[in-house]
């Protein structure tokens, strides 16, 4: 079991957002460059939106990872729903103001004007659809005062058009939409992830037919693809231990991909 061929690949696809696991895909890479350029512009607010599993959080984490080397960046990956807490946490993380008591917006803006940064600090807000309208209004006022620059990510659903939302309609200067991966992009993503960790044998097992099935099952959703690959390599690890004759090392078995999809809930059976 310790020398299993599939254990390492399995761990690679654990669904954790880690900027070091960021895989460069042409289209995503292009968007990331756009995002980096936009951040350097004197924009008040940048919107990053797309369907769930399109890599918004990963891109935000990557941005945080890259920008934090040069300027003050604060990443809020778990939304702070309470308004007082939100301002207090921002004041502490960006301006170093430690106070357990709640602070007002006016006091926060005074703090911002008191602390002079060479570049406007950037706040990255993940899952911004969870913030209340009142808090979003305060965020708007802070950005209008040019105290902070915000990059926010939002889910785009079929029911609502995020861009049309009242909060963002007049204030967003840049919006970037992330798309689901195409089969080719998914293939690059999976193989690059495997090759990055020297899993050459397993990477060679994945052919175009396998990718077609995976893409069809996951609909280009990176998160679902991660889940599926994790289950698939778990399954292969089990067969490797209990019944190695059933493993074809030249290609992934469509049957096992479908079994993994049943296990992850992508197929209802």
């Amino acid at each position: 079991m310790e020398h299993s061929l599939f254990l390492k690949p399995k761990e690679l696809f654990i669904d954790v957002v880690n900027p070091r696991d960021y895989v460069q895909i042409d289209s995503v890479s292009h968007m990331y460059q756009n995002l980096k350029t936009s951040v350097q512009k004197p924009l008040k607010m940048i919107l990053l939106y797309g369907r769930p599993g399109t890599g918004k959080s990963m891109l935000l984490h990557k941005l945080h990872h890259d920008l934090s080397k040069h300027q003050k960046v604060f990443m809020v990956d778990i939304p702070i729903i309470d308004e007082d807490d939100f301002l207090r946490v921002l004041a502490q993380k960006i301006y170093g103001y430690v106070n357990r008591e709640a602070i007002t917006l006016t006091y926060f803006l005074e703090l911002a004007s008191a602390v002079n940064y060479p570049q406007t600090p950037i706040v990255l807000l993940d899952e911004a659809q969870l913030y209340s309208s009142a808090l979003m209004e305060k965020i708007r006022l802070i950005s209008d005062a040019r105290a902070l620059k915000f990059v926010i990510t939002l889910h785009k659903t079929d029911d609502e058009d995020i861009i049309a939302k009242e909060h963002f309609q007049t204030r967003i200067w840049e919006s970037i939409e992330l798309q689901n991966a195409t089969p080719d992009e998914l293939k690059i993503y999976i193989q690059k992830k495997l090759l990055k960790s020297n899993c050459f044998d397993v990477a060679n097992m994945i052919n175009d037919k396998n990718i077609k099935i995976i893409s069809k099952l996951t609909k280009g959703n990176y998160r679902n693809a991660n889940k599926l690959m994790f289950s698939l390599f778990s399954l292969y690890a089990w067969f490797e231990e209990h019944n190695p004759r059933k493993i074809n090392y030249n290609a992934l078995k469509p049957k096992y991909i479908e079994m993994a999809a049943i296990h992850t809930g992508l197929i209802r059976a």
Partner: protein, 252 residues
């Protein structure tokens, strides 16, 4: 931890469920030609009875025409009689008297056999039975019956006899003599054959009818003499054979 046997079972179920539409499609594709073939076969089997019906109809259709052509057929009047019970029973069910009339008609209809099935010799019986029907028909029918119940054959022979009296055509005389002989009126046959021979003494059949009528009337000697006379004049084989049979005593 993965439960692989359970997963395999679920996968098998999934594959079966997923392939069901394709299986159904394949079955449908296979079934459609066979259904078409079967339906075509059944249609082919179903066609001959239709043609048979047509043939039967075609066979049946010519039937009325010979009836119309025959002078003895009284079919129109019989159809009229047959149609009466239906109309009366349909309109006067609540009336007991009408019911009686309808039943009478029904019974009288039963007593009258279809003319189409009757031989020509029975037509006289029908003419006698028709007056029995007439009183029942008259009250219920508003239209006068257009049929004329008559012995057309008798009427025609009288007409021919009249014509023969007027123009003395030997062929008419021969026809009348033959008619009477066939109908057993041997004295009439004798008279007309005699008249015909008087007009034209070369008609063999007229001489033969004359002789045979004499035989039937019991005048065998006279018949022999007549035949001998005719044989001497015409050398007729038919007359000779009749004479021979008469002499042998087996004349008909």
């Amino acid at each position: 931890m993965l439960d692989i046997p359970s997963l395999e079972r679920r996968w098998l179920k999934y594959k079966i469920k997923r392939s069901l539409p394709y299986i159904a499609l394949v079955i449908a594709i296979l079934m459609i030609p066979s259904i078409i073939i079967i339906s075509l076969k059944t249609n082919n089997n179903a066609v001959p009875p239709q043609t048979d019906k047509k043939i039967i109809q075609k066979k049946v259709q010519p039937m009325p025409t010979p009836i119309n052509e025959a002078p003895m057929v009284l079919e129109p009047s019989m159809q009229f009689v047959q149609s009466l019970p239906l109309s009366t029973s349909a309109t006067t069910v609540s009336s007991p008297s009408a019911l009686k009339t309808s039943t009478k008609i029904a019974t009288s209809q039963k007593s009258i056999p279809s003319l189409t099935t009757l031989p020509s010799s029975q037509t006289k019986q029908m003419t006698t039975s028709l007056p029995v029907i007439a009183p029942i028909i008259q009250p219920s029918s508003t239209n006068k019956p257009s049929t004329i119940n008559r012995d057309t054959a008798a009427f025609d022979i009288h007409e021919i006899e009249e014509r023969f009296k007027n123009n003395s055509n030997p062929h008419l005389g021969l026809y009348i003599a033959r008619y009477h002989y066939d109908h057993g009126n041997y004295s009439e046959a004798y008279n007309y054959a005699l008249k015909t021979n008087a007009i034209n003494n070369t008609i063999e059949e007229s001489w033969l009818i004359f002789a045979k009528s004499l035989i039937k009337l019991g005048k065998t000697d006279q018949a022999k003499k007549t035949l001998q006379l005719y044989i001497s004049q015409s050398n007729s084989d038919s007359a000779r054979s009749l004479l021979e049979s008469l002499e042998k005593g087996d004349s008909k």
